[in-house]
């Protein structure tokens, strides 16, 4: 019988580089390392890549404007943004640089500041001074192309923005990319070039000998490795401590977002829109209203300190908070068009900056920790920085001649012309069978995901790869069919199909009628 662990190869006895964590950071690093050596192993405790913080990320490729000047994350953000087009090239991933509109409103300055000032002065500050401050701030950080918009120009561009808007700054380098699709594409391309990925493989210990990493112990065995990269996200402190390379603490911070029906919100905003609020508390860059890579509108995220690294719930208060925040910015927002709400855990350190360095206590151990937003935007620059560190530790410096940067992306029915569709259906009739009608996903795409380079074993894995169930009905119609295809392709009974791995069963058992039939059959044998 096919199982979750039995059907993957055993862990190798040793590897040149072990990367712990297959989120956006780990996958970016893996794909960078594999350009120089194929002796790379990626480990993740979850059932899929990008299965924790990355999958709940808001998809923003920030310009870097929001980061404190001089921090590592600010530098890597600006650099990462610049590298992005090249970074995604060949991966079959779309980067949409639709820009960010920063809106200045009467709320931009806190009332504690404005209540002492004459109205005219406040108006002047908001209309003239604040935009210039933003521009100057951007210039200092090396962000190209920013420009000031008047109130009128804001409305021409984004007619739904509040009439309270006073001025704006447009940041054209800001973009959106699907974080989990990107992580998956990076991982797939790494695998295609020789890297090995082991999922459901949890690191339980790291052995250190003579001040250097010796091996990584997991629930599935031990791998000897001279170089270990810690990209374990919310668990990066725990993993670092295992290697005696800790000294920092991750304090989990939850971010919740709401997602809306594409059909209703497709033209609602054209770029991402955020309200600028100075001295406003909270560690999120304020979030925004943004059209996702797929065209759904997304509102969020929140920033809530939580003691629980597994707390991916969303509370009534968080939903209200998001609505309240955005009703001011977008007063006519169609609240009823909501289709989904989700949250993820950011992994900041107390210093709120990235920690990317080779440990000075444990040789061969590299921390890539404290990666919170703008981690997605900074990913190319993080990978670039890490490969530099790794090469200092012994990873080859000359690029492999046989490295293939092109990841063959599976065909997506919705993205094809009618002629392309016809020729695909002719070869494989399953391309003519729509499983998910909200997102127009065919049976063939589901089958391809199940047998893909990182095989989809459960419904959420199929969903992330194909968008089955991500639409307005949220799987009401396609959920069953998807489960059926998983059962068929994996040769398992329906009762073994899961939503996202062990414990998340979908069907309890068969109905009485079916059970009775089964009993009778057995009795007859």
């Amino acid at each position: 019988m096919a199982g979750s662990i039995e059907d993957v190869a055993p862990l190798p006895a040793s590897a040149g580089v072990v990367i712990i964590g297959a989120g956006i950071s780990g996958c970016s690093i893996a794909r960078e390392v594999v350009k120089y050596t194929d002796d790379v192993v990626i480990l993740d405790k979850e059932t899929d890549v990008a299965d924790e913080t990355t999958k709940a990320n808001n998809a923003e490729v920030h310009s870097g404007i929001g980061e404190k000047y001089g921090t590592l994350k600010q530098k890597l953000n600006v650099r990462g943004n610049r590298l992005y087009d090249e970074f995604v090239e060949g991966l079959g991933i779309e980067l949409k640089r639709q820009g960010l509109l920063i809106v200045i409103t009467p709320r931009t300055l806190p009332t504690s500041m404005t209540r002492w000032l004459p109205k005219r002065v406040v108006r002047y500050l908001l209309e003239r001074i604040v935009p210039r401050l933003i521009m100057r701030n951007g210039k200092k950080k090396g962000i190209p192309g920013q420009h000031v918009l008047t109130r009128q120009e804001i409305f021409e561009r984004e007619p739904h923005v509040t009439r309270n808007a006073i001025a704006g700054v447009f940041d054209p380098t800001y973009g959106l990319v699907s974080p989990y699709k990107l992580a998956m594409a990076l991982a797939e391309n790494a695998i295609q070039n020789g890297a090995k990925l082991f999922l459901e493989t949890e690191v339980t210990d790291i052995k250190v000998a003579e001040g250097a990493v010796a091996s990584v112990v997991t629930n599935r065995g031990e791998i000897r490795a001279p170089i270990v990269v810690n990209a374990a996200g919310v668990f990066a402190d725990t993993v670092a401590d295992m290697a005696g390379a800790g000294g920092f603490e991750i304090h989990p911070r939850k971010g919740a977002s709401l997602l809306f029906d594409r059909d209703i919100t497709a033209d609602y905003v054209h770029s991402s829109v955020a309200e600028f609020r100075m001295f406003h508390k909270g560690h999120s860059k304020g979030g925004g209203a943004m059209p996702t890579a797929e065209g759904n509108l997304q509102l969020g995220p929140t920033a809530i300190e939580t003691g629980d690294r597994y707390d991916t719930s969303i509370s009534a208060e968080e939903i209200e908070e998001i609505f309240e925040r955005f009703y001011y910015l977008l007063p006519d927002f169609p609240r009823s068009a909501i289709i989904s709400a989700f949250s993820g855990i950011r992994a900041p350190t107390l210093d709120e900056d990235f920690i990317i360095e080779a440990s000075d206590r444990t040789k061969g151990f590299v921390n890539v920790a404290g990666i919170q937003s703008p981690g997605l935007a900074a990913a190319p620059a993080i990978a670039e920085m890490v490969i530099g560190i790794l090469q200092g530790l012994g990873v080859p410096t000359s690029r492999r001649e046989d490295f293939d940067p092109v990841r063959p992306a599976p065909p997506r029915f919705t993205e094809l012309t009618d002629e392309e569709r016809d020729s695909l259906i002719e070869k494989d009739p399953d391309f003519g069978h729509i499983i998910c009608r909200c997102e127009t996903v065919t049976e063939a795409e589901v089958v391809n995901a199940i047998h893909g380079p990182i095989p989809a074993k459960n419904m959420d894995m199929v969903k992330r790869r194909t968008r089955v169930g991500m639409g307005r009905c949220q799987g009401g119609f396609c959920g069953f069919r998807c489960a059926q295809i998983i059962a068929r392709e994996r040769g398992i009974p329906m009762t073994e199909v899961t939503k996202d791995g062990a414990g998340s069963w979908v069907f309890a058992d068969e109905t009485k009628h079916m059970l009775a039939e089964g009993d009778a059959g057995e009795a007859g044998q």
């Binding site: 997602l259 059909d263 719930s313 259906i425 003519g432 119609f477 998340s504 069963w505 979908v506």
Partner: protein, 429 residues
């Protein structure tokens, strides 16, 4: 190359559920002999095959049938016509000029250019986030219709310990169904202070099985990271906000949602059909023709009916209307609006293009009321009225106006009837 047949039928019916079946059959009887019916599922009948309980057909057939029986009568009749049925076929797009783009495995991409179209796509269930239920996102949160399909068609139990949110008819019916299959139904919780389903279903599905039905209650949190481990429920105040100190935890492995149905109008919208914000379905006239000439709509795509019999009736009107449009052509006159009056939430049809024929109205009340009279006004003149002992929002009410009634009202007022209204008033007055 797959042989790509471009079809140019007289009529294309989108959807092969009760609405599509009724419309195709009526159009066929009215003289159309080139009809294509497009169904995305593997069989005709829509939702009916999974509705194995009875209660269907009391108005149309004057007998009580199960869902599959009701559907089969139409499927059998359709099989005796020359309606072309395309199963496993998904309509991808409907253009304002009525051109349909569809796809299936056998033919690939299909283009259909009919003279008229009937929209019969039915409705879908509202999902968890549309009613803002906080908590985790584990397996085990399922809509009532999906649960019904799992059990009745596929023979699979979506869970063993069930909480149902929403007292719509499907929720009530599933409370009984789960119980009959040996599952434990912990209760049906309804946020409103009145049930969402028909009175007969409350009695036959909840009370008869000792399943508690709690009004003014909602689920405030879903627990469990992998699979549902329980829900928090709470009493709600008059503004439907949960009252914090009434929260309590209920152990369960499944949350079944019966929190409303939404007409499926994505295709309609792309075709430029105007929708009614109240019904979420197309605005239609007395022949069930939408605001786009030659595009008709019927059944639950127009508004969610409580009885399949009404779905059938509107589909027959649409089918005949489409046949008339194709065979005789039709110019619509200045529309006369049909307005919802006192204690009426909405009325279908929303307008009338031709006062020279009898009209059936379907409407719902806004709030429950006792001892009332429902009546149609032509201008300010009341037409026929009907007394009701009790009216509930879930129940669809009907009224009609004949040509003679309207002509008489016009005479009495000394001018053309320029508006119609349906209202529900106190019987005492």
């Amino acid at each position: 190359m797959i042989s790509k047949k471009k079809r140019t039928p007289q009529l294309a019916v989108i959807g092969g559920g009760p609405a599509g079946l009724g419309a195709a059959l009526a159009a066929s009887k009215a003289g159309l002999d080139d009809i294509v019916m497009i169904e995305r599922d593997i069989e005709l009948g829509g939702i009916l095959p999974q509705c194995i309980h009875d209660g269907f057909g009391s108005k149309v057939f004057k007998e009580v049938l199960t869902g599959p029986q009701y559907a089969q009568r139409y499927i059998d009749e359709i099989s005796r016509t020359n309606v072309e049925v395309l199963l496993n076929t998904m309509v991808l797009e409907l253009a304002g000029n009525r051109t349909i783009t569809a796809v299936n495995s056998a033919e690939g991409m299909i283009t259909i250019e009919p003279k008229a179209v009937v929209l019969a796509m039915g409705c879908r269930e509202r999902s968890r986030h549309q009613v803002f239920i906080p908590g985790y996102r584990p397996a085990g949160v399922i809509t009532a219709g999906a649960a019904q399909r799992d059990i009745n068609i596929e023979g699979l139990m979506p869970g063993r310990k069930i909480v149902i949110l929403g007292s719509g008819d499907i929720g009530l019916i599933m409370a009984r169904r789960f119980t009959l299959e040996g599952a434990q139904v912990e209760g049906v919780y309804e946020i409103m202070d009145h049930p969402g389903g028909l009175p007969r279903n409350i009695v036959q599905c909840c009370y008869d099985y000792d399943i508690p039905l709690l009004l003014s209650h909602t689920v405030t949190f879903i627990h469990g990271k992998k699979r549902v481990e329980g829900v928090t429920v709470a009493h709600v105040d008059a503004d439907l906000k949960a009252v914090k100190d009434t929260e309590r935890f209920i152990d369960c492995d499944t949350l079944v949602l019966s929190v409303g149905l939404i007409p499926e109008n994505e295709l309609s919208k792309h075709a430029g059909v105007t929708l009614d914000p109240v019904t979420a379905g197309p605005i239609v006239d007395e022949r069930m023709e939408t605001t786009v000439d030659g595009i008709f709509a019927c059944g639950n795509v127009v508004n969610v009916f409580d009885l399949v019999d009404y779905v059938t009736r509107t589909s027959e009107v649409a089918g005949r209307g489409a046949a008339e449009f194709v065979l005789q052509g039709r110019k619509r006159e200045a529309p006369v609006k049909v307005l919802p009056g006192r204690n009426v939430k909405y009325v279908v049809p929303q307008f009338v293009s031709d006062l020279g024929r009898d009209i059936d109205f379907y409407f719902r009340v806004e709030h429950p009321e006792r001892a009332v009279t429902a009546r149609v006004l032509a201008g300010t003149t009341p037409l026929k009225s009907k007394k009701h002992k009790m009216v509930h929002p879930p129940e669809m009410l009907t009224a009609s106006a004949t040509v003679a009634d309207i002509a008489e009202a016009a005479k009495a007022e000394g001018r053309k009837v320029d508006s119609l209204m349906v209202e529900v008033v106190d019987s005492g007055k």
